[in-house]
Symmetry: D2
Subunit: 173 residues, 4 copies
């Protein structure tokens, strides 16, 4: 039988601070532990790489990477690389495929675009350790879709408890 | 001979306030007067429609609309409708085709995504009458690419004087 | 007043034979003479370049190029370069924006994809000097949408007479 | 450890003949048995649905569906639905993500576009039970990339033996 596990996105900068990288790794681990599929931008850099690595520490984890092009190195933790060759237009694919996304900082314009596109598409967003002006702008634009938290644990709690993404057993069931 | 006139984008909400609509119309007029081609999201709503209408008040103006799909009504002021069927992924096309974009308010998440995508792509952005948290976030992310102004005239001055987009005679030369 | 002139696409190989290049140049000229806007893939190569050059021999012509990325040189005859950064996904934009497309040979897989995407989207196709197996395949798939001709004049006649694209005065009216 | 299993695409019509549906189901089963990930267009119709169902008959199979939009019903056999909202521009994503694709008939223009886009991208193609004019056209365009076969078993043999896609143990290893 098909096991359609929820997909959760983790977005963040390719050149991220130590704090955000630590958060990303924890998020990957927590998402995998909840039995969710992790989706990232797939590249072997920054938050994308850290989140995928974190997930792969958990047995039964499953990770998808939506690559901007065919030349970008793929993060080692990505099980399923989807190659788009769409450049930044692939950011819409990232958010539309997820039940919710977590922005692990808003250190780059790419992440900001993904948060905005998620809001536009009605996909819930959790802003993890983001600066106040980002929280303020996106909560005004997001009208209830946007949550701000300070720890990876709180981010995943919002997904499970407030957004209601159901827990799954790790693969295989 | 080919006349490659600079293309300038005006982005803004489909449901915009009166102030932003007035600004958009003025921007369209000023852009056309400078001999630039106006590019918008093309739909018959809000800032897109107002900017296109403003441009078409000027003889020799030329307007391009990048439509998200085939079903959206096209603004009357659009000379050249480009149909993408890419949904919000067309936002990258909007910004990549322009020498610079002007955000006529950041009232919706679509506009916020376009500002972020422009920064990501290295396309200069002018924020016209935008809230302080948007200015603060995007100027931090944009490192010199993002200008904030309060009037349509100032927006167009930034494009001509600071960004250095050359004036052209209105079509035909 | 807005002048919404019909947009007609000319598709073909970047490395085209002499015959197809001659056809492309003639098509550009004829399309411009009919007052239609010419749309191509925009690059400074092959059929794209030849068609745009042909159109610009006609006073009042208007040409749009839908570029795959920001690095491709733009054909000199393109008035309005639209930059997509979508790679070959921009082929759908090419066909959706046109009232009809003319395939000037099917010498490359890119052109074949555009013919197929046009059929899928319900956009009429004229195959100009295409090999019999291409005509046979696409007419079977196209169920009445696909016409085969041997000269540029016949291609444009099909557009004007059978498909019914109205003639316009060259710009400006 | 990350298990990067090869991804193989099966493309075909949403309204397919009985023969092609039977083939698609067999292909899904064979691909899963080889430990490859099956990728399809994801919708609950025709070849897409049949291939995904076939794969899910095999324990440890993994199936990805690249959906054109958010409204299309997802085939029950799809484990990982990737939502693009790109319309037919998603066809490039389908082919770029695969080591090779199998066209299960060329009954529709969408499949023809995917074969052409695969050739353009250098992705090997197997044409299964396709009409002679399609084989002739695509082999001419594909210069060695395009193989024609008559049975699902032969299609998968080409992938394993001639294209050299390595076999994997079914998930989990």
């Amino acid at each position: 039988m098909t096991v359609r596990r929820p997909i959760v996105g983790v977005m963040g900068a390719s050149r991220a601070s130590e704090e955000h990288l630590r958060h990303a790794r924890a998020l990957g681990r927590l998402i995998a532990t909840h039995g969710w599929i992790l989706l990232t931008g797939g590249r072997a850099e920054g938050v994308m790489e850290a989140a995928a690595s974190g997930a792969k520490e958990v047995a039964g984890s499953l990770t998808v990477g939506i690559l901007p092009d065919r030349d970008s190195p793929v993060a080692e933790g990505v099980d399923i690389p989807i190659v788009t060759d769409l450049g930044d237009a692939r950011n819409t694919v990232n958010v539309l495929s997820c039940k919710a996304i977590i922005a692990c900082g808003v250190e780059g314009a790419g992440t900001a675009s993904e948060v905005a596109l998620a809001i536009k598409a009605g996909v819930p967003v959790v802003l993890l350790a983001c600066p106040p002006e980002a929280v303020s702008l996106f909560q005004r634009l997001g009208r209830g879709l946007v949550h701000a938290v300070h720890t990876p644990e709180a981010a995943v709690s919002v997904l499970a408890d407030r957004i209601g993404i159901p827990l799954h057993a790790p693969w295989p069931v």
